[in-house]
Each structure stands twice: as C-alpha cells, then as structure tokens.
C-alpha cells in the first residue's frame, strides 16, 4: 500500500512537472530555445497571485486568473524584447539572456516582496481520502491539480490540432521560411507561443505553491525548472505527449526514491535521473535521432 500511495502522490505532483515541461516544449518547438528563465517567470506570476490572495484577501480564482494574465503579458514581452534579438544567433546566446532575465526577475521579486519563504493557501481540502481504514495520499487539492493540468493539456491539443491558428503555429515552427512565404505571421505567432507557455507556467506555479512543503520565494522555483526540464528531456523536448509522460514518470520515481532512500536530496536524484536518461539517449527518450549538422 505504501508503494501504491507513493505512486499516487508522485503522479499527482508529476502532473505539475508535466505542465512546466509542456511550457518548455511549447517554446522549444517554436524557437529551438530552452527557456531557462521559466522558473523565474513562474515565480513572478505566483508572487502576483500570492500578493492578491494572501496580502489583499482576494479570492483564489482572482489570483489564479490575474497570474495567468500576468504570464501572458510577461511571456510575450520577454520574447519580443529579449529573445527576438538573439533568436537566430548561436544557441548559447539565448541561454545567457534567459539566465540574465532569471537574475533580474529573482532580484526584482526580492525587492518587491522580500526574500522570505511565504506559504500559499490551498483552495481545496488537504485532508487525505480514506478507503476504509487505509489512508490514500490523495485529496481534493491534488484532484484539482490533476484536473487543471489535464484540461490545459487538452486545450493545448485542441488549439494545435483543431484550430487554424494552431495549424499556423505548427507551420511556423516546422518551417518558418516557407510559412512566412505562405502568409503566416511567423513572428507574431512566436510571441504568442511564448505567451501561452508562460500562462501554462503560471498555472503550474499557483498549483505547486498550494501543496504543503512548497513556498513562494524569489529562488523557490529554481528546482521546478529543473524538474520540468528533466520531465521534458525524458519526453524528448519535442513531444508534448512525451512531456506529460515524462512529468508523471519523474513524479512517481522521485516519490518512490523519497520513500525508500531519503527525502533530503531530491535535487541530487533529479540530477542522476537526468544524467541516466541522457546517457542512454542523448536527445531524450521519445525523439528520433537527429544528425548533428556539419
């Protein structure tokens, strides 16, 4: 039963990692950039929600929606102002710009909200369910997490597969040059992609902040970026379904390791998992092999 509980609780957390991974995959597919500032952007939007909900007694939903809007604006602005100039340069440049942005966001958030660890209240009950006398490590709050992420994933799927704008976004990612020739406003769609990714990240941030043991603080989401990145890498960075599967796997494996080895060194486990995956498949588990260009 312990093991089953670990799987249940780990999978529920894994849904959040999956959401962050989805955000990373969205950006990777359209611009071939891993957004290393994702953790910082999630941190800022979560702080916005925290400010409204905790400091100004607004409802949870107001906080969540405003955080999503903040993500939309932030994501779009970051792409337009910072990423656009380095998009076509060597691959190291956007990484460095993103890290600079991360430092600015962490410093800025510290200036506004301080460097304390703040708790974020969960919207739904944290009391674990029971099956007879057996406690199950699942509660209404985690159910809300699972439903939210599933809804996000479905909406993204519908957007990309069933709408004209999704078709254009896929075309822009697949071959920007040809898409532009065919009248697709590629640059605007790239901005939209970043904005959408930041919205997904914003939801993930508010969701994880509500789970006990997590705090809202300027560097509190550094680990979440690595978790999302690892989940995305397990899935292969290119595959949204892979990202979701990777997130779930990662959540479960981490929770099981926590139970059987130690819960002090989560980041160490993530590092080892990431290395293990990459040593076996340097481009992720779910991608087809890509030749390096000469």
């Amino acid at each position: 039963m312990n093991f089953l509980n670990d799987v249940i609780y780990g999978a529920a957390n894994g849904f959040i990692y999956a959401a962050v991974a989805l955000a990373l995959v969205l950006i990777w597919r359209s611009t071939r950039i891993v957004n290393f500032a994702q953790g910082g952007m999630v941190m800022v939007t979560t702080f916005v929600a925290w400010d409204l909900v905790v400091e100004h007694n607004q409802s949870y939903w107001v906080g969540l929606v405003v955080a999503m809007l903040a993500g939309l604006v932030l994501g779009g602005a970051v792409e337009r102002i910072l990423i656009r100039p380095v998009e076509n340069g060597p691959p190291l440049n956007p990484v460095i710009v993103a890290l600079g942005l991360l430092l600015v966001l962490e410093g800025g958030a510290g200036m506004i909200w301080g460097n304390n660890n703040n708790t974020f209240p969960a919207q739904f009950s944290l009391v674990y369910y029971h099956a007879g006398h057996q406690v199950i490590l699942f509660n209404s709050d985690l159910l809300f997490v699972v439903i939210s992420v599933v809804v996000i994933a479905l909406l993204l799927y519908l957007l990309f597969q069933r709408t004209p704008i999704g078709l254009r976004m896929r075309a822009a990612a697949f071959n920007p040059e040809v898409a532009r020739l065919l009248g697709v406003p590629v640059s605007r769609l790239l901005t939209l992609g970043w904005a959408l990714a930041a919205v997904v990240g914003a939801v993930a941030g508010v969701l994880i902040a509500g789970i006990p043991g997590n705090y809202v603080s300027p560097n509190g989401f550094d680990g979440l970026l690595i978790l999302g990145f690892t989940a995305a890498v397990i899935g292969g960075l290119d595959s949204p379904i892979g990202a979701v599967v990777g997130g779930l796997l990662l959540g479960i494996v981490l929770q099981v390791l926590d139970g059987y080895v130690s819960n002090d060194i989560d980041s160490m486990f993530v590092l080892l998992l990431l290395l293990a995956v990459l040593m076996v498949r340097p481009n992720g588990l779910f991608t087809r092999h890509q030749e390096r260009r000469v």
Partner: protein, 364 residues
C-alpha cells in the same frame, strides 16, 4: 628591439612577464591598503580563479556550464574536510598543510570535472546547459543527506581551521597573499594552456567538431580535458573560499553563485583571461558599489537584491549590445585609437559580430 620580438615569439616568456607584473601589482596593492580592502582583494583573486576556468571552458572549448558553483562546492568541502581535525600550531612557517589541502581540492574537483566532462562530451547545447544547472542545484545538497550529514556537517556545514599568518603579517593581508598567489599561478598556467597545442585544440573543437576530428583530434577527449581544467580552477577557488571564509555550508554555494560566475565571464569578455579579471573585479565590488551609489543598506529589501538585479541587467545588456564584453569593448577602443582617423567601418568590425557569433572573437 630584440627583447620585444623575443617576447612576441615565446609564450612562456610573455606569460612569465605577465605573471611577475601581476604579482608585483597585487603585492603592492595589498601592502598599501588596509584590512577590509585586503579581504576584498582576496575575493577578487579567488573569483578570478573560478571565472578564468569558466571562461576558458565556454569561450575556448565552446561548452557551456551553468553549474560551476558545484566545483567550488567540491573544492571548498575538500579543504574543510582536510583541515577539520587539524589545529595550526603557533609556528606557522613550519606548517604547510593548507597548501596540501588546496592541491587535494584541485585534484578532487578535477576528478569530479572529469566525470562531468565525460557526460558533457556526449551532450550538446540545451541538454548540457540543463545538466550543469541540475549539477549546481544537486551537488550542494549532498551534505544534508542523512547518511553523510555526520561527515559533511549537514545544514550547519563545516568550520575550517585557518592557517596562522606569518609572524609579522596581519591576517587579512596573509589571506590576500595566499589567494593572489593562487590567482597568479592560475593565470600563468591558463595563459600557457590557451596558447599551446591544447588551447588550439579547444578552439578547433569549438569552431567545428567534424573538421576537428577530421584533423585527427579526439573531440571527446579535448572536451573532457577542458572540463577537467576548468573544474580544477573552480575547485581551487572553492578551496580558497573555505580558507578565507573559515566556514563552508550548503548555502555557501547557491545557484546564484554559478549564474554570477557565468555573468562575470560573459560581461568581462568570454574566452579571455583579461576579461576574467574584469569580471572578478566586478563580481566582488558590485554589491558594495550598488550600496554606496543607492545609499540603501544591505538589509533592506531593495538593497539586498540590488546586486543580483544589476548583474542580471548587465548580463542581458552585454549579451544584446556587447557580446564580446568589456574586453571586446576595450580592444575595439584601442584599435580605434591606434588607427586614428581610420574609416568607421574598420573600427566597427569588432562590433559587427553583435548579432553573430559569441565565439567569433580575436585573440588580443
């Protein structure tokens, strides 16, 4: 001017000259300034070791590391562990154990660097960046692991027994000397390295892996070597940190440290040792400059976060407008001065690579 042309020909002579001049200048500074400035000088020197190693790795071998703080962690803890049970007797001149501790720190972090390099040699671009980022978050967590916390001191960390100073030298100055000596040695070794066969191999692999391997280089071996060299320098910096701070704990090596080191090497000018020196000065003095200029105390919300913010802004701005960093700016200015009234497009040449290649820089 026979001696000048000899300098031009011989890297060894040139590097010796640079090292001697640097040592004299540093010695002069440490003699002139007081205790507080000497402790800052020690910080500059140890930061230089770490940044020089990182800048060679990224700028010369073309591999990125977002997690160099992890190697400082290894070096720092190695020194702390070696000196844990050792108290320094009052006659310091007979006691050289701390030098041995520093050497072991370099060796251990080089070994960790070799492991990281073996992984890195298989990885490219964002994958390598992600793994090194995970390294910076994961490795400093080790001391809190319940089975290791007894040995590594857990959250409270380890106290380092600092060696006594020489009889007639005050303590901060003594520490500054140790750090500066290490920085000068690092400068000397790295300067010779990047102007040797090995350095050219780094650049060949950076510029085109396929061409490099066609030319008979083992790409993976070169990349691992670059990681080993870089990690060794960072380990030395970590060891010096332990010696000067007197204490190491998991929070001494946060992710921001790794990002600050990266920022310093980019802002200084990737791949150049003089750039590393500018970066080291910047990273050390920025917090106090930010305070002096803004007039805010380091305990206020804004004051405490000002250095990080400025560093991030400087990193973004330098990447967008000045991809060759301070070193690139200075060399383009000197070129402009030397060329006098040369037409603009010639002097703008160095800047024309702004949208282009981070690796595209000249050796000056």
């Amino acid at each position: 001017m026979a001696d000048v042309s000899a300098l031009r020909r011989s890297t060894l002579l040139r590097s010796l000259l640079i090292a001697v001049v640097a040592a004299l200048v540093l010695f002069g500074i440490s003699e002139l300034v007081g205790e507080y400035r000497n402790s800052q000088l020690a910080s500059v020197a140890l930061n230089f070791c770490a940044i020089a190693g990182l800048t060679v790795l990224i700028g010369r071998s073309g591999q990125v590391s977002l997690g160099h703080g992890a190697f400082l962690f290894v070096g720092g803890y190695t020194v702390a562990l070696m000196l844990k049970h050792h108290t320094f007797p009052n006659s310091p001149t007979t006691n050289k154990l701390f030098i041995l501790a520093l050497l072991v720190a370099v060796a251990v972090s080089a070994a960790v660097g070799a492991l990281a390099g073996l992984a890195a040699a298989r990885l490219r671009g964002p994958y390598l960046a992600g793994v090194t980022l995970a390294l910076a978050l994961g490795l400093p967590e080790l001391p809190t692991y319940s089975h290791l916390s007894g040995w590594l001191g857990g959250h409270t960390g380890l106290v380092v027994n600092i060696p006594n100073s020489l009889d007639n030298v005050d303590f901060a100055r003594w520490q500054a000397w140790i750090c500066c000596a290490c920085a000068v040695i690092t400068l000397f070794l790295l300067y010779n390295l990047i102007h040797s066969r090995v350095g050219r191999a780094f650049e060949a692999v950076r510029d085109d892996e396929v061409a490099a391997s066609l030319a008979g280089l083992s790409v993976a071996r070169v990349q691992v070597l670059a990681f080993v060299v870089s990690a060794a320098a960072a380990g030395l910096a970590g060891g010096l940190y332990a010696l000067t701070a007197g204490q190491v704990d998991p929070l001494s090596f946060p992710l921001t440290l790794s990002l600050d080191l990266l920022a310093a090497s980019v802002i200084g000018g990737l791949g150049t040792l003089s750039g590393a020196a500018y970066g080291a000065v910047l990273i050390t003095f920025l917090p106090s400059w930010a305070q002096d200029v803004s007039g805010l105390s380091a305990t206020s919300k804004v004051g405490a976060n000002l250095p990080t913010t400025i560093f991030g802004l400087a990193l973004v701005v330098s990447m967008l407008l000045l991809p060759n960093g301070i070193q690139g700016l200075l060399s383009s200015i000197t070129r402009r001065l030397r060329n006098g009234a040369a037409p603009m497009h010639r002097t703008a040449f160095g800047i024309s690579s702004r949208a282009g290649n981070l690796h595209d820089r000249e050796d000056t």
